[in-house]
Amino acid sequence: MKADISPFRLTIISGYPGAGKTTWLRRQIREGVFRSHLLFEDLERMRAWLTEKGAAAAPRNKQVNHLVLETNGLSSPAEIVEAIHGDGFLSSHLRVAEIVVVVDGEAGLRRLASEAVCRAQVAMADCVIVTRLDAAGPETVAVLLATLSALNPVAPIFGSARGAEVAFPPHGDVGPIALPQEAGGIVIVTLPLNATMNWTALELWLLALLHAHGPNVLRVKGLASGPDGRLMVRAANGQPPQTVIVPAEAQAGLADKDSIVIVGRGFRAEDLKRSLSYFLDADAQTS
């Protein structure tokens, strides 16, 4: 009988120690956000469960269809994603559906400035939760939001206090703090997109980058504006870029600016920018 290897949906919850991951996660579980799930604290325990249950644990057998991994606060989701995709057993059983990163509204700015792993966590996020909004000053939160958007412009950001979703306090137009582009061996590059740029050159460049450096490109995620709304581009692990229109109801918390974020290792941010510039100029020079 053929084994059922349809993968489980995996949500990775990450965040620096003390950021409020557990408080937020418990609240979400209590409120039914995660259904039919199993919670794990490390990948090895998840592997052991998958090994023990085997085909009987497959999602279509209904009991559990969603695994949640609440990570050690000092680990980067990039390492976890790499570990899964580099492991035939795990990659056939798990599909990383989303990476949620929890950031402390009070201490988050200091952590981002001083801790490379904190920057690496945010750079990989599909969604960022800013906690302790009941305690953090509005000015601090405003600068934190600007800094998070600069680091990862494509991840929606939501506010939280004691685990419950709350709105951000009103704030003026403030800028981000300056952060290093390198984070613990992981390079984070944000490239602006705009309606007038040469999308054909961008596509060719992105495909060439993924073909040549696929295993080192941990994540590509971009947002562009179109007539039907926001277009999301994502790629990882050498797979070709995929595009989806973000439904209107899912656009809350998304940054206004169109941009693409590339997270990877083994290359320099400056080389990435220069290389894209060459491809973009190639059409301009020859047309």
Binding site: W199, T200, L207, A208, H211, A224, P227, R274, S277, F279
Partner: protein, 101 residues
Amino acid sequence: MCSRCGLPLVWAGASGREAPDAQHDEGVLRRRVRILKKVLQPHGIKVETSVLASAIRLTSPNGETFAASGTQDLWPLVERLIGAPLDPLAPCYTTAAASLG
């Protein structure tokens, strides 16, 4: 942006709208050929529009030829012609861009 569907040319299909027409495809193809001529020049690869519709013909300095029918098979075919994946981060691209900038 595509003047017909208003989306980035290469991603027009993501909206679920009807497939782009022939004129749309030709515009994308011509632009791809222009870019590839410049990008593949350091490797001596000649780039032309193939007689097959919507294909790009690549010819190596020793005369070996492949036709790429889309972007997904383009870079694997370039790899076969030059013997290694084309590295967009190679100095011939990054230093040239730096001197332009």
